[in-house]
Subunit: 243 residues, 4 copies
């Protein structure tokens, strides 16, 4: 089976593992299956990876490396411009816009950002699915989850670790962190994870699904807006909640 096909053997192994782990989970996938799918001998998998577990770690770590930097880049790109122009001020508990147009501008950028993030997670939906599965079914990947949840504010690797143009930074409360995680990160990841299944289950096609989900994200952002502020502290928000 000496392989000199278009793709290199190691890549084929990684792809096969991604496919199978995301479909059936880590435990339910056998090294034999990966070998067969990758058109490679079992032994070669152990030539490149220390163990089956090592293959998994490899996949997951490649995701968690990329995902944060992407997120940080997007956010800063959206916000820094407005700050420099003096139209946005980052207060401890909120983003304050000086004029309605600034809100609009941010809103548009946020919309674009959502689309980009959604595309990113959909592209990586297999590994995200693996990530979800394995963060549930093993004690592992808690560190990766922390990063996502952003509980460690000070952590230089965290989503909001890097200062904005004006030297300030978000000051998320714990409650806001919970909100962000469970009503933004989690839906996003879950949507990606179930994406292929959703097309089958629901009557909606890919395009409609994507559209519906983006709308939902927008609705969500709307809930944080209060006049010309975007609130980042739950307590203030509560007063604002009508019911």
């Amino acid at each position: 089976m000496k392989n000199k096909d278009n793709h290199k053997a190691k890549d084929r192994i990684i792809n096969a593992a991604t496919k199978l782990f995301s479909r059936k989970g880590f435990s339910a996938t056998s090294v034999n299956e990966i070998a067969k799918e990758a058109k490679v001998t079992k032994a070669l998998i152990y030539y490149y990876f220390k163990s089956k577990k090592d293959v998994l770690d490899c996949l997951v770590s490649s995701l968690s490396k990329n995902i944060n930097s992407a997120a940080i880049d997007f956010i800063h790109a959206s916000i820094d411009g407005l700050i420099k122009e003096g139209r946005l001020d980052v207060l401890p508990d909120r983003l304050r816009f000086t004029d309605d147009e600034a809100v609009d501008c941010f809103s548009r950028k946020a919309g674009k950002y959502y689309r980009q993030v959604l595309d990113y997670v959909l592209e990586n939906r297999r590994i995200i699915r693996i990530f979800l599965l394995e963060s549930l079914s093993s004690g592992r990947y808690h560190r990766e989850m922390l990063r996502l949840m952003n509980f460690g504010h000070e952590d230089s690797e965290s989503l909001v670790g890097k200062n904005f143009a004006n030297g300030k930074d978000f000051n998320y409360s714990d409650e806001m962190t919970i909100f962000k995680f469970f009503f933004s990160t989690v839906p996003l990841f879950t949507f990606a994870a179930y994406y292929d299944d959703l097309e089958k289950i629901s009557a909606l096609n890919a395009k409609k699904l994507r559209h519906a989900f983006l709308n939902s994200l927008q609705m969500l952002t709307a809930s944080l807006v209060c006049g010309r502020d975007i609130l980042l502290q739950n307590k203030q928000l509560q007063k604002n909640i009508i019911m």
Copy 2:
């Protein structure tokens, strides 16, 4: 190993399986482990259950039987009263309240409802975790997911299958269904599934976590309120979104 302890053998098996499946997933749990955890011989497990798979189905079906009826009861209790009193009208695309007090009343009931639902899912967090895990890692439980997502409106078992007091019913758009599922069901389930881990990972204790999550749910509902309406059609909502 004759066991005549307080709990009966079959219960011990179910509890052991719940614990292990929720921690490690179905595939990663061996019948041997279940037997050891339940302080029972392997053979006895096969006396009570046809197969390992049968144990799982048993657990999952016990959840999905309960969860819908619970949800439906709560909702009807919250809404039917207002309808009968003529203070709430169920329109095709929205709930319309006749007066501000009705909104308040509904809001209070919704708050209570959230607390009850949250407690319910937390109580059943192990099986929910199993459910999440298995719905991701196998083709199984798609039907159960459908029920939860409510895509099948006409299904008599679905959340909205039962008419309200005035003979009308919700008329969720597909988009709204997506929203409800990914920004309500999914966060709720995920919160429950990760609950025990969250206490460890975050600095927050159980009470604070619960509080933060309930606040988040309220924030979310707020985003659906528009004057005296609660919008159920995304398209309308969009116009309403400030940014």
Copy 3:
């Protein structure tokens, strides 16, 4: 293959392992071979033993349990009688006999003892062979070796741990311990380990081999005798060595 043969499955496994480990060594023996030899499935071996290594430990520990108690019993039986009759005194560095006949008596008993010990080790030659092999090829069994070598004088499990009739005990010097080990224990064990090979290699039959080896042991004891003393301190002996 449900086995209800004369021998029980576990015994058959132990016997098969003993045979194969002693012939080819632990590493060179596969669990498959043991299974085949024992007429048992591989899985059954893992039903009774945690691992292949566990099978080995089982064999070795069963030997090292027996061997010491046997040795201690023999020695005490030989010596205590003479002590009680006042014909033997245990001095710090030597055994002193009061009359030539006592020396003769001891000598006869030692001869008998040698025969018994030799028979014992020959009977257990397979496990001894395993023991030799594995004490060389792994860090393991050092504790067992210590016991044999008797470096730990005070250890209650050691060969000379138990007092004699007159409340005294041997007081072996380190040097004497080395002598005893390398010129008594080691030859004995090695003889047993190579026994089956010796018959093939040499022209001698079993009986002659046994006889020759016993003679050698006697010659050795002779080297410790000095008048009516049996010296137990090397330093004294040295003076006594003619050349």
Copy 4:
């Protein structure tokens, strides 16, 4: 991994194999481990050696070539002088010295010989360990053992193959051969094989161990002396044994 270090690749392979085979045995050592230890690729090992087995044979044969010639040289140097001077006569069953001083002289030479032999085996203790291990755990090296045991008197390669100055030769009985092997060769080899472990296990340091073992060898020789004879026939010896 291009290696142009001080040592050549082949030497590094041989050293690594010696180290590992002596520690863990042939079967338990993998070619991979040898390669890692030697800082060489696996493939290079197969460039220099036909197979893993070939590496072993290479090591063992290097020892067994040396060991005999060394032994013979030593012996002849010790004895031939005395024979030529007419102070030692080699009889069929004993060495007879004409005067006490000759015995002393021989004794001194023997002492020196022991020291040399001990140093030699200690230097080669790793290969001796391998030799012991493999002679036990495989049919191999029986021929080499024969050589050592000297069963094959007539073999031109054997220890006593070469005549002494007076044209005579030792005439070891089978019994004496057994004695020599099990109470001289075996202890020597075993001492060397366990040497490194002994330092750890016992409280004795290298120097003390060496000293104690040499003393033991002297004690042993003493047991063969009878007046001005050194007996080479067990039967005669027996009468001489006091007990």
